[in-house]
C-alpha cells in the first residue's frame, strides 16, 4: 500500500513533467512558425521584388546569345549524337581511367558556321566528345577532340562498352534560336524575389519558346537542372579550386569567368538509351579565346542531375 502510493505520486510527477515538455515544444513550434511567416512576408515585399525582377529581365535581354539545338537531321550529315565515332585515321580512341572513354557526339563545325556565325568557334573542323564516368567531378569528365583531317569510317571501341553506355545513333541538324540566360546565370537568390512577375517586357523572349523537348545544344546558355553559376564554377574548376558559396567570389575569378562559353550541352535522351545518372545533363564549356584558336584541350565539363 505504501509502495502504491509512491507509484502514484511518481506517475503524477512524470505526467506533469511530460505535459510541461509537450506544452514547451508546442510553444517553440508556434514561435518558429510565426518567425518563418514573418520572414516569408518580408521577403515578398512587392517593391523590392518587382525592382529585382525588372533588373534581371533587363540583364537577360542584353545578354541574349545565339544557340543551336541539335535536332533530328532532314539530310543526314556528319554530325550525330550517340552511335560510333568517325575518327580520322590518325586519331586514336581516347582512354579514360579504367578503359576506353564512351563516345557521346560528333559535330561538323563547317555545317552550321556559314549560316550561323558563332564567332568564338573555328569555321571548320570536327569535334568529337568522349565521356568517362570515373572522372565525374573533374574538368575532363568529357574530353573534346578537334580534328581538321577527313573523317574515317565508324570506329569500334578498343573494348566493348557496358550496355548502359552503348548509345543509339541519331544524325542531327541545327536549329538556331536566341538563348537567354537563366536567373541562376546572374546568381539570383530566389529567396529574395517574390511573385511579382508581370507580362510586360517578357514578350521579347517569346520567340525562344521551345517547349519541353530534349535539349542537346551548342552555344548560348546552359539550361541548368540545379542552381549555381556555371561560368564561375568553370573558372574555379580550371584553377583546381572548389567554390565555397559562403565566400565572396574574387574579382579576378569573376572577370576570367566571362570568357567561358557553352560548347556543348548533352541531355539525357531515352530514345538513344542515354541517361546521365537520374535524367541529368553534361555541360561542356570552353574559353572563347581557346576555342577560336582550335584548342579544345582545356575544356571544363559540369555535370548535373536530379
Amino acid at each position: 500500500m505504501i509502495a502504491d502510493g509512491g507509484h502514484s505520486a511518481a506517475g503524477l510527477a512524470v505526467t506533469l513533467v511530460m505535459l510541461a515538455a509537450v506544452a514547451t515544444l508546442l510553444a517553440v513550434m508556434l514561435f518558429v512558425l510565426r518567425r518563418e511567416l514573418s520572414a516569408a512576408a518580408s521577403r515578398r515585399r512587392p517593391s523590392q521584388a518587382s525592382a529585382g525582377w525588372a533588373g534581371i529581365r533587363a540583364r537577360m535581354r542584353r545578354a541574349a546569345r545565339p544557340t543551336l539545338l541539335l535536332v533530328p537531321a532532314r539530310e543526314p550529315g556528319f554530325s550525330k549524337v550517340g552511335g560510333l565515332p568517325e575518327l580520322p585515321a590518325c586519331v586514336g580512341w581516347p582512354t579514360g581511367d579504367l578503359g576506353p572513354r564512351i563516345f557521346v557526339a560528333q559535330i561538323d563545325l563547317a555545317a552550321f558556321q556559314p549560316h550561323v556565325q558563332l564567332d568564338w568557334l573555328p569555321s571548320e573542323g570536327r569535334l568529337y566528345a568522349f565521356f568517362d564516368e570515373e572522372r565525374n567531378g573533374c574538368p575532363d569528365v568529357v574530353r573534346i577532340l578537334y580534328a581538321l583531317e577527313p573523317p574515317g569510317p565508324p570506329a569500334e571501341p578498343p573494348q566493348p562498352a557496358p550496355k548502359k553506355w552503348r548509345f543509339e545513333e541519331r544524325r542531327v541538324g541545327f536549329m538556331k534560336f536566341n538563348s537567354v540566360p537563366s536567373p541562376d546565370w546572374f546568381e539570383v537568390d530566389y529567396a529574395t524575389l517574390g511573385d511579382q512577375l508581370d507580362d510586360e517586357a517578357w514578350s521579347t523572349f517569346e520567340d525562344c519558346d521551345l517547349g519541353e523537348e530534349i535539349e542537346h545544344r551548342i552555344g548560348g546558355y546552359p539550361t541548368e537542372i540545379q542552381g549555381g553559376q556555371m561560368a564561375l564554377e568553370c573558372e574555379y574548376m580550371r584553377r583546381g579550386l572548389t567554390r565555397d558559396y559562403n565566400d565572396d567570389v574574387p574579382d579576378a575569378i569573376r572577370r576570367a569567368a566571362r570568357e567561358w562559353r557553352l560548347l556543348l550541352q548533352i541531355d539525357s535522351d531515352p530514345a538513344l538509351n542515354m541517361n546521365w545518372w537520374d535524367g541529368g545533363r553534361l555541360y561542356v564549356f570552353v574559353r572563347a579565346k581557346d576555342a577560336a584558336r582550335g584548342d579544345f584541350s582545356k575544356t571544363v565539363t559540369i555535370t548535373q542531375t536530379h
Binding site: L12, T15, E187, D189, Y190, T223, S268, D278, T305
Partner: protein, 243 residues
C-alpha cells in the same frame, strides 16, 4: 517416589496466574484499532475510485477508476510527441522506468519531423499552382519547381535538389511532376554528396567512391523522414504490445 503433574493434582488445572495476560490483551487491542483505521482508509480510497458498483447476492462488485494517465490507444500512439509522451507517463505509473526513458526519448525524436512540418507549413508545403516541371525556360513568366524551392528557402545557393524518394527518371518518369517535384521529395545537398549518391565523384583531385547503399539512404534521406522511420514503427509496436 512421589507422582507429579496433573495426575498428581488429580486432573485439576494449575492455578498459577499469567503475568503477561494484561499486556498481551492491550497490545492486541492496539493492533485491532490500527487494523480498523487502515481498513477505513482503504475503504474511503476505494469508494473515491469506484466508478460503478453493483451488489449481486452477498457480494459487492465495483468498477474502479483507472490509475494514472493510462496507455495511449493504438491510433493515439501515432500522434507525434503526444503518443510517446503519454506512453512514457503510463510507463512511469507502471514502474517501467526503462520504458519511460525510451518513450521520453522517442517523444524528443518526434520533435524533428514535427519541426520540419511546422517549417514547411510556414513556407508552403506544396507547390499548388503554376507548372510543376522541374525547370521552366528562363523567359517563361511562371516558376518551375526548382526556382520555387529556392524562393521558399528549401534549397540554398549552391544546393542540388535531390529527388530522394521518387527519381526524376527511370521508374519515376511515370509519376506526374506535381507529385514528385514537391518539397517532401527533394533534399538539398552539396554537389559532391549529390554526385556520390549517383556515382563516383572527384573533388580537389581526390577520387571518392560512390556511397554504399546505407550511406546513400543516410545522406539522401531528409532528417524528418529518418526520424519518422525510427519513431512510427516503434509507436505501432509499443501500442500493440501494450494491448
Amino acid at each position: 517416589m512421589a507422582a507429579s503433574g496433573s495426575f498428581e493434582r488429580g486432573g485439576q488445572p494449575r492455578t498459577a496466574p499469567d503475568e503477561d495476560a494484561e499486556a498481551y490483551e492491550a497490545a492486541a487491542q492496539q493492533q485491532r484499532a490500527h487494523n480498523r483505521k487502515q481498513q477505513a482508509e482503504l475503504d474511503q480510497k476505494q469508494s473515491q475510485n469506484v466508478v460503478r458498483s453493483k451488489r449481486l447476492g452477498d457480494r459487492l462488485f465495483t468498477l474502479n477508476k483507472p490509475r494514472g494517465v493510462g496507455h495511449p490507444g493504438q491510433l493515439e500512439s501515432f500522434i507525434p510527441i503526444w503518443g510517446a509522451a503519454r506512453e512514457a507517463a503510463a510507463d512511469g505509473d507502471d514502474g517501467d522506468y526503462v520504458g519511460m526513458v525510451l518513450n521520453t526519448g522517442k517523444a524528443a525524436l518526434d520533435v524533428i519531423p514535427m519541426r520540419a512540418v511546422a517549417g514547411a507549413a510556414s513556407k508552403g508545403m506544396v507547390k499548388n499552382s503554376g507548372p510543376h516541371a522541374w525547370r521552366t525556360k528562363p523567359w517563361e513568366r511562371v516558376k518551375g519547381a526548382r526556382q520555387w524551392l529556392g524562393e521558399k528557402g528549401y534549397l540554398q545557393a549552391g544546393d542540388h535538389g535531390h529527388h530522394w524518394a521518387i527519381p526524376q527518371n527511370g521508374w519515376g518518369k511515370a509519376v506526374p511532376d506535381w507529385i514528385k517535384n514537391q518539397p517532401w521529395n527533394i533534399k538539398g545537398l552539396d554537389a559532391v554528396t549529390h554526385g556520390r549518391i549517383h556515382g563516383r565523384y572527384t573533388v580537389d583531385g581526390v577520387r571518392l567512391p560512390r556511397f554504399k547503399q546505407g550511406e546513400r539512404i543516410w545522406h539522401g534521406t531528409p532528417n524528418a523522414a529518418k526520424a519518422a522511420v525510427v519513431t512510427t514503427p516503434g509507436g505501432f509496436a509499443r501500442a500493440r504490445d501494450d494491448r
